[in-house]
Every structure is written in structure tokens, then in C-alpha cells.
């Protein structure tokens, strides 16, 4: 069935993380009508889930929430959250996207975001938003700063007890909501689909995620975040305050056998940042970073790295070969010293794997835009305009075009917005 509901915009932005928000704001500010389509229940992407950001140590929310808020209230920007992109193709002069609004089982117009449904719901579900370190309810708002402030009813874990429906003061619960398909037609599109962390579960060297207190860097972000699961730094196996914390750099990056051959570009800096935050909250803890090369190349980054060294964070040039389960919740890190002195082992209370970045979206069978061997979208002009793809009128920004940090992402998004705006004024002149 072809949906008859067609919405027209100047630009379709695919992905509502920091890259998409910035591109949308830069286009909206020029008067273009923009649609942001986001797969998650909230905009904000990975950035809103972080603790603080390097090298300024601003809280991530302090920078993200205003941009989220600005986009959601912008007269030229419309948000479509909790939506799947089914297809994205050229049509005529522009672009046509088929989109499915997934059911929240909550009426977005009636709901006032009071969270009464969440408080009354009796089913607890492990909360991926909190690194699975605590639980949410089967109906819940994804996180406190989410936009929109609408709960999602998780059908997988709902027992249809009806308590949320009874409690809701505005009768917003709708157990019968169905997916709705619609079409967005636009003159241009910007792909800002970001990244996922390489999953630990495929890395047998690091225990496939089964060794207690070996966590990934995104889980550490949650532990350090203001709304985190523990509101302090504890290790997940038993609630102990860790005394010795290790970072394993290039976990799954720069290593074909373990995952990805390329450098993920942000891991050195986020590990240093996390180490600094940890040494702030646990001043007596030993913090060790096992690394191959420290890549602190951005503005102010090298100074940040030198500060971390001065704070007493230990940097050991070594490649971690494997991690094993130790006694009493510790993890044993086995590493090869890069000075040629051979294999050594060390016991740590908590080990953080600086996992690399992989693309957050695969265009295969959805969109004919081409990917590179690294699986990120191909930039056809990496020098004069890295945001250009092989599809006319379709641009890419942020990690969708290869790993990069927030600063570079925001700049690239501005650049993509500029290219999209130029494309539209040029085609306007031709018409």
C-alpha cells in the first residue's frame, strides 16, 4: 500500500543527533523548511547521553539541550521522532522518503509528559539508556531531558494490566496504536546518522562482554553522567567504589582482526576526559590508560592530554592482548609492552574498553548512496567539500561520513547546510 500522506519540506535531515540538529538549525535559520527524522524516541543522539565533553569539560547536556530545544521550537523545523526510514531515493528534481512512525501507544497530542504512567507501571525492564545498570519501566520517558517528553510503551515487556491507562490524567494511552506510514518529499537531504559503538560481545579477547566489571566507554559515560544509574562511580558487579581503573585504548580500532582497521579518532580524548572526571570523583584511585599512540590533535587537545599526565593519570604504551576474569570481581589485563620488554599482567577493579565507532546506519536496500570500504558514506570530494556524496542533493555530515569528534561534527554540519542551501538556490535559478 502506498501511503497517501505526503509532507513537503525543503530539506530532510536523517538523524536527530548533534550533527542533524546543527544542520537543521543552520538551514532553518536561512528560512528553509526542514524535517528531522529520528529513529530514537528523543532527539539528541549520542551527545545527550554523554557526561561531559572534552576539552572544555562542559557538561554534555549544557551544550546539547539548548540545541535540542532550539530545533524543537524553531518555526522552520519539524521533528519526527521514533520513526524508521524505509526508503530514500531521488524523485524528479528532489528526494522522496518513505517513513514509518512507530507506535508509542501514547497519543502525542493528549500526553502532557507527567510520567504518572511510568510511576504506576509495575514492570521493570533493564534500561539500555543507563548501560543496563538500572531499570526503567515498561512504559517510560527515555530520559529526563528527552525531546519530546513522551513515554514509550514497550510492548515486549507490557502485560496489558491497564494501570497506566487508568492513571493517565489525559487519557493519552492507546494500546491499539498502529504504525503509520508517510512520505516526505524534499529538495535536498542531509544524512547525519552517526555511529554505534563496536559491540564488545564480538570480542572474545575481551571476554565477549561476560567478564564482570569490564564495560564499554558509553557505559562509563552513563556512570559519570549527572542522571547516571548510581549517581556516583561504582563498579557494577557489587557496588564497590573502584580503586584501580584501566582504560584499554584501540579496543576494536586500528586492528583488522578485532573489528575495524581505522582510527576512531575520539577514543583517546574521551578516555583522557573520563580519566580526569574519575580522578576528580575518586582522588585516591589509580587510573591507567593502555594506549598505542595518543591522538590529541584538535584545538586544545594536546594541552588537555598534558594536563591529564600532570594530574597523575598513568599512560602505558602497550597493546592489550586479552582480559580475563580475576578474583573478587577484578579483571586481569594482559598486555604487550611496546618497549619490547614482553608480556605483563595487571589486576584492575574496573576496566573500560575504548570501543571504536561503526556506522549507525546502513543505506543498503534503503538508499543508493555509496559507502566506502570503511562502511561510512563516501565523500566524493574529501578536500573541497567532504559533505558531498555521489547523490546530487544528498549531503552527509558528522560521523556518518567517518568518525569524528563533536567540534568537527558541528563544523561539518554547518558545511552540509551550506551545500544544501546552495543546491537549492541554484536549482531555483534554473527553474
Amino acid at each position: 500500500m502506498v501511503p497517501t500522506n505526503i509532507k513537503n519540506f525543503d530539506t530532510l535531515v536523517v538523524g536527530g543527533g548533534i550533527a542533524g540538529l546543527q544542520a537543521a538549525l543552520d538551514l532553518g535559520d536561512q528560512g528553509y523548511k526542514v524535517a528531522i527524522v529520528e529513529k530514537d524516541a528523543s532527539i539528541g543522539g549520542k551527545m545527550i547521553r554523554l557526561s561531559k565533553v572534552f576539552p572544555t569539560l562542559d557538561c554534555a547536556s549544557c551544550i546539547t539541550t539548548p540545541k535540542m530545544s532550539a530545533a524543537s521550537h524553531h518555526e522552520n523545523i519539524t521533528l519526527f521522532t521514533y520513526c524508521d526510514l524505509t526508503s530514500l531515493n531521488h524523485e524528479g528534481q528532489g528526494i522522496k522518503a518513505l517513513i514509518t512512525q512507530k507506535p508509542r501507544y501514547v497519543d502525542p497530542i493528549k500526553c502532557i509528559g507527567c510520567r504518572q504512567c511510568e510511576y504506576i507501571c509495575p514492570v521493570h525492564v533493564s534500561d539500555a539508556e543507563q548501560g543496563d545498570f538500572s531499570a526503567r519501566k515498561a512504559i517510560s520517558i527515555p530520559f529526563s531531558t528527552a525531546i519530546p517528553q513522551l513515554p514509550i510503551l514497550d510492548v515486549e515487556h507490557c502485560m496489558l494490566c491497564g494501570q497506566c491507562e487508568k492513571t493517565c490524567p489525559t487519557h493519552a494511552i492507546d494500546y491499539f496504536q498502529k504504525p503509520e506510514e508517510f512520505i516526505i518529499q524534499a529538495k535536498t537531504a542531509v544524512i547525519t546518522t552517526g555511529f554505534d559503538l563496536l559491540p564488545v560481545k564480538n570480542n572474545f579477547q575481551y571476554g565477549n562482554g561476560h567478564i564482570p566489571n569490564v564495560i564499554d566507554s558509553m557505559q562509563m559515560e552513563r556512570i559519570l553522567a549527572p542522571h547516571g544509574p548510581y549517581n556516583r562511580v561504582l563498579r557494577p558487579s557489587d557496588g564497590m567504589e573502584p580503586d584501580s581503573i584501566a582504560y584499554v585504548q584501540c579496543a576494536g580500532s586500528r586492528d583488522k582482526s578485532m573489528g575495524v582497521p581505522y582510527c576512531s579518532r575520539v577514543c583517546c580524548m574521551y578516555a583522557i576526559k573520563q580519566a580526569m572526571l574519575l580522578s576528580g570523583s575518586l582522588p585516591l584511585a589509580d587510573i591507567i590508560i593502555y594506549y598505542m599512540d595518543i591522538r590529541a590533535f584538535g584545538k586544545g587537545y594536546e594541552q588537555f592530554y598534558q594536563n591529564a599526565k600532570a594530574m597523575g593519570i598513568e599512560f602505558v604504551k602497550a597493546k592489550v592482548a586479552r582480559i580475563d576474569k580475576g578474583e573478587n570481581g577484578s579483571a586481569i589485563v594482559r598486555y604487550e609492552n611496546q618497549d619490547g620488554s614482553g608480556i605483563a599482567t595487571a589486576d584492575h577493579d574496573l576496566v573500560v574498553l575504548s570501543m571504536g565507532m561503526i556506522p549507525g546506519w546502513d543505506p543498503r536496500s534503503i538508499c543508493p548512496v555509496s559507502k566506502d570500504s570503511d562502511q561510512f558514506i563516501t565523500s566524493i570530494k574529501p578536500k573541497i567539500s567532504p559533505v558531498l556524496t555521489n547523490m546530487a542533493g544528498l549531503f552527509v555530515a558528522g560521523v556518518a561520513a567517518g568518525p569524528k569528534d563533536i567540534v568537527d561534527t558541528i563544523t561539518e554540519s554547518g558545511s552540509a547546510a551550506m551545500e544544501a542551501a546552495k543546491f537549492m538556490s541554484n536549482s531555483h535559478m534554473e527553474n
Binding site: 521493570h124 545498570f133 531499570a135 496489558l160 549517581n231
Partner: protein, 109 residues
């Protein structure tokens, strides 16, 4: 005042819910059993903490639950305002039940 249309609507809704429940039978069954276990676990934690404070290893031992699971519950109950953190003891923190007047099904802050 009785509205026959309203009644009819209610009947229809009831029937639709019944169909939906039938469709989701398996999911509902597993969610219900999970909920029951959770209820039991939370009750055990609350009972253990009645009138005292304890660390994660203490609670875990006291109610015979794995320590990581205990922490998961405590973190969740803290989030929903049923438990508060108390002072530190060695490398662990103590937890106690939230005072009754403050107990609200509400996320802190």
C-alpha cells in the same frame, strides 16, 4: 445518567482488549512472571532493610541474591525514590529505605 452509546463503546473496547491479550499471550505471560519475581525481590530487599542500613554485599548475602542484581535493584529503587544512599563503609556505600513521608513514586530531582 446512562448513555447507551458509551456502554456500547465500552463493550467494544473490552472485546478489542481481549483480542489484543490473546495476540500477545506469550509476551504477557513472560512479562507477568518477570513482574512477579521483581515484586518478590523488591519486597525481600525492603524487608531486609527495615530499620537498618546495609551495603550491596550485605543485602545480597542477606536475601541470597547475586550482588550485581542487588545493585541493579538498589539503583532502580533509588531512582524511583524508595531507597536513599547512606554513609560509606570501607569501599561500599550503605543504603536504607526512604523515610515514609518522603516516599513518593517519583524520580529524584
Amino acid at each position: 445518567m446512562k448513555n447507551p452509546d458509551n456502554d456500547k463503546e465500552k463493550e467494544a473496547k473490552k472485546a478489542a482488549m481481549k483480542t489484543l491479550r490473546a495476540q500477545r499471550k506469550d509476551l504477557i505471560a513472560s512479562a507477568s512472571s518477570r513482574m512477579k519475581t521483581q515484586k518478590k525481590d523488591i519486597k525481600a530487599i525492603k524487608e531486609f532493610l527495615k530499620g537498618k542500613k546495609a551495603t550491596i554485599p550485605d543485602i545480597a548475602e542477606g536475601i541470597d541474591m547475586p550482588k550485581d542484581e542487588t545493585l541493579w535493584y538498589i539503583a532502580t529503587m533509588k531512582k524511583y525514590g524508595q531507597i536513599v544512599e547512606a554513609e560509606k563503609e570501607g569501599a561500599f556505600f550503605n543504603y536504607s529505605l526512604n523515610e515514609p513521608e518522603k516516599t513518593q513514586e517519583k524520580e529524584e530531582v
